[in-house]
């Protein structure tokens, strides 16, 4: 069972993930229309790229924009959640040791205690996000069950990984569940809202180009996010 889910199934999951993401990026870019969107993308590429980069960088920085600064609590939870979500699986020792064993390469790794902290913090942040969805009326009216499912898919690998490592008596069983949860997440990314993994950058770049070319970017200053 382990060999299957870390062999063919893993290949399948990653292929779907990578190909899916690339397809989404390509389809997005293909679907841009300078005239329909009313943004002269290619005519002023320099300003467009400048605007795109600014748009992405400011919004990727904690408290980098007025939007983030206006919601400090949510911003902290948001960034902690995402940084934990992304950093932990990529720089986890266990994952990198497997990578080293299989392919001889390894990224930098973080200590186990750092990984534990990040994992716990991701889970706590997820709880906060759920509570936020249920308690704030402006978020509640937008929330659907789908939102909870997406959050569950994203956090499941962390919960199951943590259980397997520290809590479970049947390590192998929970490890397999953990791997399957991870694969579900990978496969879900191109097909669900988790596609914001790549589409965040696309959408932000697009709006950045819009502001960079059309809405004042060519008048010298970039938009004051």
């Amino acid at each position: 069972m382990y060999a299957f889910i870390t062999g063919p199934l893993l290949w399948l999951a990653f292929t779907i993930f990578v190909v899916g993401c690339i397809v989404r990026i390509i389809l997005y870019i293909k679907g841009l229309d300078w005239q329909a969107d009313r943004v002269a993308y290619t005519a002023h590429l320099f300003y467009g790229i400048k605007g795109a980069v600014r748009s992405i960088v400011f919004w990727l920085s904690p408290f980098g924009t007025r939007g983030w600064r206006k919601n400090p609590g949510f911003t902290v939870v948001f960034f902690v959640f995402h940084i934990g979500l992304l950093f932990t699986p990529i720089f986890l020792q266990a994952h990198n040791i497997i990578l080293k064993q299989r392919w001889g390469v390894s990224l930098w790794t973080i200590s186990e205690s750092s990984a534990d902290v990040l994992t716990i913090v991701v889970m706590i942040a997820a709880v906060f996000l759920v509570l936020r969805r249920l308690s704030l009326p402006e978020v509640r009216i937008l929330t659907t069950t789908y939102d909870f499912i997406i959050l569950a898919i994203a956090v499941a690998p962390f919960i199951t990984g943590f259980i397997a490592h520290y809590i479970a008596s049947d390590y192998k069983f929970w490890l397999i569940i953990h791997i399957i949860c991870g694969e579900i997440m990978l496969i879900a990314i191109p097909f669900t809202k988790l596609s914001h993994f790549v589409l965040f950058f696309m959408s932000r770049a697009q709006l950045g180009m819009d502001y960079g070319i059309k809405r004042g970017g060519m008048k010298g200053k970039g938009f004051a996010w």
Binding site: Y28, V139, L199, R204, L207, K214, R215, A224
Partner: protein, 460 residues
């Protein structure tokens, strides 16, 4: 009943149609007919297929339902944080649903969309600035308005406005003759105070070609005179075109894209004809936006720029003050507390935030910024055509509260609002709430404080 006499999917292209529409006071019959209007689902689907592309599609798809757009929207804030005013909710319950149902919607739904698109959103695009994904709901509502218009679901005043532009190439029924007459009349009236004042029409290769808002021609001709005087005092080599003089675009508010194209092409034709060095528009936000920012795309110009470098009026004023073409008499500077209304259409959506500050530094001694300000300022409450639409007056008046409180918080007595919509909105706001403030365009203020060069003073 598929098509009404007044309310239908057809565009208003001939005068008789327009007159019939105008005769229906307040759109009473129009709205009654709207209740019976069918939806041409095939056409709707076809339009969506052609125009709904990855930008809009992705925006609707990746909305994470985070609710950060809520506080950015002045309707949400003015309506006591009513969750149904959350921009994401508004767009998803209208355009989102429309797309999900693939155009398979009924009359009630379309009317609900129209109500939302026109009374719950003034397309100020402030929400797009506060969304982590950069989802611009203002742009989406603009798109929705287009879909609604194509199906005949547009407010009466918008249908009228669209007709005006199609027929008169201006937002009001001002013919070319009316226009030229008005120019001559104003020049005559003001010549005594400003000898040598002229309003040159159709002068080729001038430095500046001036375009304006038809309301000025129809209702506030003194504005034209003031503009002429200021150009005259600044010693500008300027002109106005006989055709293509009207810069505004109610068609943009209505979502009549075809007419938007026609409108701006008219202005560009004038530019081609007269070949000015630059075009300067009047103090009108959406006119600048429509003609200079969005217009090139409707006209199919690939680099997204009008044929001639085009300025909003504030840009010209700043330049004139900066270069000394216009000199302010220090004794006549504005002494009382004064604040500035950042119009969405040329500040947030065109990046001219610094220019007004520069102007204020020349003309005001106690300038107070609103909070928030510049690109993050709130809409006046009357944008997107809302000022004119009777059906949604109540909703608009509630929206005014935010701007009212902003102005009061500055402690200013005067609001400078170089934008017709903002000017109207603040006037209406004062009429309803009686907070005791005054508001003004730039031109009358400048006329009062600018130094007249000796050689232009009346000789007596």
């Amino acid at each position: 009943m598929p098509e009404g006499i007044l309310c239908n999917k057809k565009t208003v292209d001939i005068k008789e149609q327009l007159d019939a529409l105008l005769a229906d006071a307040g759109g009473k019959q129009y709205y009654e007919e709207m209740n019976q209007l069918d939806i041409d689902k095939d056409a709707l689907r076809a339009t969506i297929k052609k125009s709904f592309k990855s930008r809009l599609k992705t925006w609707l798809e990746i909305c994470a339902h985070c609710g950060m757009c809520a506080e950015s929207c002045y309707y949400y804030l003015a309506n006591n944080r009513d969750p149904e005013q959350v921009p994401s909710y508004k767009i998803h319950s209208t355009l989102g649903k429309l797309i999900k149902r693939k155009g398979n919607v009924d009359n009630a739904f379309m009317q609900m969309c129209m109500d939302t698109a026109f009374s719950k959103c003034s397309c100020c695009t402030r929400c797009g600035v506060y969304c982590p994904f950069g989802i611009d709901m203002g742009v989406m509502f603009g798109y929705l308005r287009g879909l609604l218009f194509s199906q005949g679901f547009t407010p009466w005043e918008m249908k009228v406005g669209s007709g005006m532009h199609r027929i008169y190439k201006a937002q009001m029924d001002v013919t070319t003759e009316d226009w030229i007459d008005t120019c001559e009349w104003m020049a005559e009236e003001w010549e005594d105070d400003y000898p040598g004042l002229k309003i040159p029409v159709d002068k080729k290769n001038a430095d500046i070609m001036y375009t304006l808002n038809a309301r000025e021609a129809k209702h506030y001709p003194q504005d034209i005179a003031e503009a002429a005087v200021l150009f005259h005092l600044a010693g500008e080599n300027w002109t106005v075109p006989s055709e293509g003089w009207e810069e505004t675009s109610l068609t943009m508010f209505a979502g009549d894209w075809a007419a938007c194209k026609m409108q701006v092409e008219n202005v560009y034709a004038a530019m081609e004809r007269l070949k000015p060095k630059r075009m300067v528009g009047t103090e009108c936000g959406h006119a600048y936006r429509a003609t200079v920012i969005e217009g090139p795309y409707w006209a199919g110009i690939k680099n997204g720029q009008p044929p001639v470098e085009s300025l909003h009026y504030v840009e010209w004023v700043a330049e004139a003050l900066r270069t000394g073409k216009l000199k302010i008499d220090p004794a006549k500077k504005i002494k009382e507390p004064v604040t500035f209304q950042d119009s969405c259409n040329y500040v947030r959506n065109a990046g001219l935030a610094d220019i007004p500050r520069e102007i204020m530094s020349y003309i005001a001694e106690d300038f107070r910024e609103m909070t928030p300000n510049r690109e993050h300022n709130f809409c006046c409450g009357g944008g997107g055509g809302l000022n004119g639409i009777g059906r949604y007056r109540e909703a608009r008046n509630i929206g005014f509260k935010i701007k009212r409180d902003q102005i009061l918080a500055t402690g200013a007595k005067l609001v400078v609002a170089p934008c017709h919509n903002c000017w109207d909105a603040i006037r209406d706001m004062e009429e309803i709430y009686h907070v005791g403030i005054r508001w003004s365009f730039l031109k009358p203020l400048l006329i009062d404080m600018v130094q007249v060069p000796d050689h232009l003073k009346p000789k007596d």
